[in-house]
């Protein structure tokens, strides 16, 4: 019956078309959200961009009473706290990743990997709470005096020691980004073909020499990608940092002093913005954060793709 057949085909075509269009629309939603984020932030930041121009990024004034805004103290706080966090976290994360991918037997590696993932699962407000009441005071009483005594010639470690400080924020951030970096690095190391390892071992390499010759060089772009990914996380982390950094918009040489980051000042002042320009300046801080986050992520993703996709090219 040709008539039924055509109708059947018609229904089919309509069903397929509706389905395809729906999934396409939802997928396009992601592009729309990303575009919308950028456009909305930019348009709300526009009054502030017009008022301060590029000076916004280099000025250290942040004064709602006179409506003068400059982002430098927050950019400084964000960059220093994140970089310091990475200095603490990266060596540890590499150690964890190597231990999980190269050293530990599979069953143990799975168990430890699970514990490290739990570290990433703990909500940031809980880290903040722990930072305020436990880690901060502990660092002030134990680590700060030690650093001050050992490195008394460095301005980084001079001056009064406070429990809410740049240093506390960096340590908490380090704990929070470590699982991300180590997870990506573990993936990168696991993607190194085992033929590489076997070749090194066959040449008489010890375990560490194998890692150094065969694993690390192979994963280098992936490792850098993982570090940048961690940096992106650290830059954008808000609540835990806002709770322990002290939120004071000043640039001080000492790591023992309170500071503020782009994210923490938005969290603190957004609801209480006193003027339209104040709100717009906060949107501009958000825009700076977005641009930093997007830039770092685009770079990191490209590097990690390169490093983990190689396994698919391996001849089977």
């Amino acid at each position: 019956m040709p008539r039924v057949k055509t109708r059947d085909f018609g229904v089919r075509a309509v069903g397929d078309r509706v389905f395809n269009l729906t999934t396409l629309a939802m997928a396009l939603m992601i592009l729309a959200l990303l575009g919308g984020l950028t456009v909305e932030l930019f348009s709300h930041a526009l009054p502030s961009i017009k008022a301060f121009g590029f000076g916004f990024l280099t000025s250290t004034d942040w004064d709602p009473t006179t409506d003068l805004y400059g982002a430098l103290p927050f950019i400084y706080g964000t960059v220093v706290s994140s970089v310091l966090a990475l200095i603490i976290a990266v060596p540890l994360a590499l150690g964890v990743a190597l231990c999980l991918s190269e050293m530990a037997p599979a069953w143990l590696s799975r168990k430890i990997g699970f514990l490290v993932e739990l570290l990433a699962a703990i909500p940031s407000v809980v880290y903040g709470l722990w930072g305020i009441f436990v880690a901060g005071p502990w660092l002030r009483d134990h680590l700060d005096p030690l650093l001050a005594k050992t490195f008394c010639f460095l301005p980084l470690f001079q001056g009064p020691q406070v429990s809410v400080s740049m240093l506390t924020a960096s340590v908490i951030l380090a704990i929070m980004v470590l699982p991300y970096i180590s997870a990506v690095c573990t993936d990168v190391f696991r993607a190194v073909p085992s033929s590489q390892r076997e070749a090194a071992l066959a040449l008489g390499a010890t375990k560490w020499e194998m890692v150094r010759i065969a694993v690390l060089p192979y994963g280098v772009s992936g490792i850098i990608g993982a570090i940048i990914l961690g940096l992106g996380r650290a830059l954008g982390e808000t609540i835990a940092v806002a709770m322990v950094i002290g939120n004071s918009p000043q640039i001080s040489a000492s790591l023992f002093m309170p500071s503020a980051t782009l994210a923490s000042v938005i969290a603190n002042e957004f609801v209480e913005a006193t003027s339209a320009l104040n709100l717009s300046a906060l949107f501009e801080l958000g825009l700076v954060l977005l641009v930093l986050g997007l830039g770092l992520n685009i770079a990191a993703r490209l590097m990690v793709y390169g490093a983990t996709q190689r396994r698919f090219q391996k001849p089977t």
Binding site: V11, G15, D16, T22, T23, A25, M26, A27, M29, I30, L31, G36, L37, E40, L41, P91, A93, G95, V96, C99, I112, F114, L115, V116, L118, L119, A121, I122, P123, S124, V125, V126, G128, L129, F133, V134, S182, A183, T206, K207, W208, L229, R233, L235, G236, T238, I239, M243, A263, A267, F270, V271, F283, G286, L289, L290, G293, L294, N297, R301
Partner: protein, 289 residues
């Protein structure tokens, strides 16, 4: 080759020693990395357990200066926000994931996949002020809906990428068999392929829920927090995370005590989701990063 035998064995020994030392260092690094986990959980258990009681789950927050009270509204608020976020975000995420899996090589699909990955790295506070700009301002106030939308925006890329990965795991033969039997393409995609991947997708959704349930920053300017019950989607609402934040930075000992209790309950919920999922899937579950 010019080395004497003893010199060679000495070098051999040093190399072995160095290797063992480096292995030891990686083990040490792992141990150090796990110390904070146990410290945080330990403090939560000891400080939080002392303040968790029946009132905590059933009473409303007490006014300043009065002791007692609980977080009943915040607990319900967390469930309400996350539930609504799922209702908004999961269908979009899964549909987008299906699109990405079915158009794997396409240029548009690749652009969207990359955008989703990049979106995971957008700071959540930025998502918060974005939702303030597109929802709170036009609708004239902080609301449950705005908070849920912010959480949904965070969930969508996570769910999309997990759904895609899970659908790609479904053997291609299954799809071919269905098509050969004359099942229309869209029914094959939805009822055969996506359904086969359903448990994997559900796992990804639960892990995404665990992540957004612990979010504070995107809620501050959208859901805003509320000391009372929120009776409509257009009213501000509280969440455990915001309540813990407010209490933790308050100067009152009683509130700080309750912050620990709230943190314990929050962490218990999040970890129960994570551990439960991993236990059910025997450790295979992984959410996109």
């Amino acid at each position: 080759m010019t080395l004497t035998k003893s010199a060679r064995s000495r070098r051999q020994y040093l190399r072995k020693l160095k290797s063992d030392a480096m292995v030891g260092l990686t083990v040490l690094a792992t141990a150090i990395a796990l110390v904070p986990l146990f410290l945080v959980l330990g403090y939560l258990a000891s400080k939080g357990a002392a303040s968790v009681n029946w009132n905590f789950f059933t009473k409303m927050p007490a006014p300043v200066g009065q002791s007692g009270g609980g977080m009943a509204n915040a607990i319900v608020g967390t469930f309400e926000l996350v539930g609504l976020a799922c209702a908004l975000g999961v269908p979009i995420g899964v549909a987008a994931g299906i699109y990405l899996a079915e158009n794997r090589g396409g240029a548009l699909a690749q652009a969207i996949r990359f955008s989703a990955d990049v979106m995971m790295g957008v700071p959540t506070i930025v998502v918060g002020i974005f939702c303030y700009a597109i929802v709170v301002r036009p609708f004239g106030g902080f609301s449950t809906l705005a908070g849920a939308i912010a959480l949904a925006v965070i969930m969508i890329p996570l769910v999309t990428r997990t759904a895609e990965e899970m659908i790609l795991l479904v053997p291609h033969e299954l799809r071919e068999a269905a098509l050969a039997l004359g099942v229309p393409r869209w029914r094959t995609s939805l009822l055969i392929v996506a359904r086969t991947a359903a448990s994997g997708i559900a796992t990804g959704v639960i892990l995404a829920v665990a992540r957004v349930a612990g979010e504070t920053a995107p809620l501050l300017f959208t859901a805003f927090g509320n000391r009372f019950w929120s009776t409509s989607l257009f009213q501000p609402i509280s969440s455990l995370t915001m309540q813990v934040y407010t209490y933790a930075i308050s100067p009152f000992a009683d509130w700080q005590r309750q912050a620990w209790a709230g943190a314990l309950v929050l962490t218990a919920i999040v970890l129960a989701l994570e551990i439960g999922v991993r236990w059910l899937t025997r450790g295979d579950a992984q959410v996109a990063r």
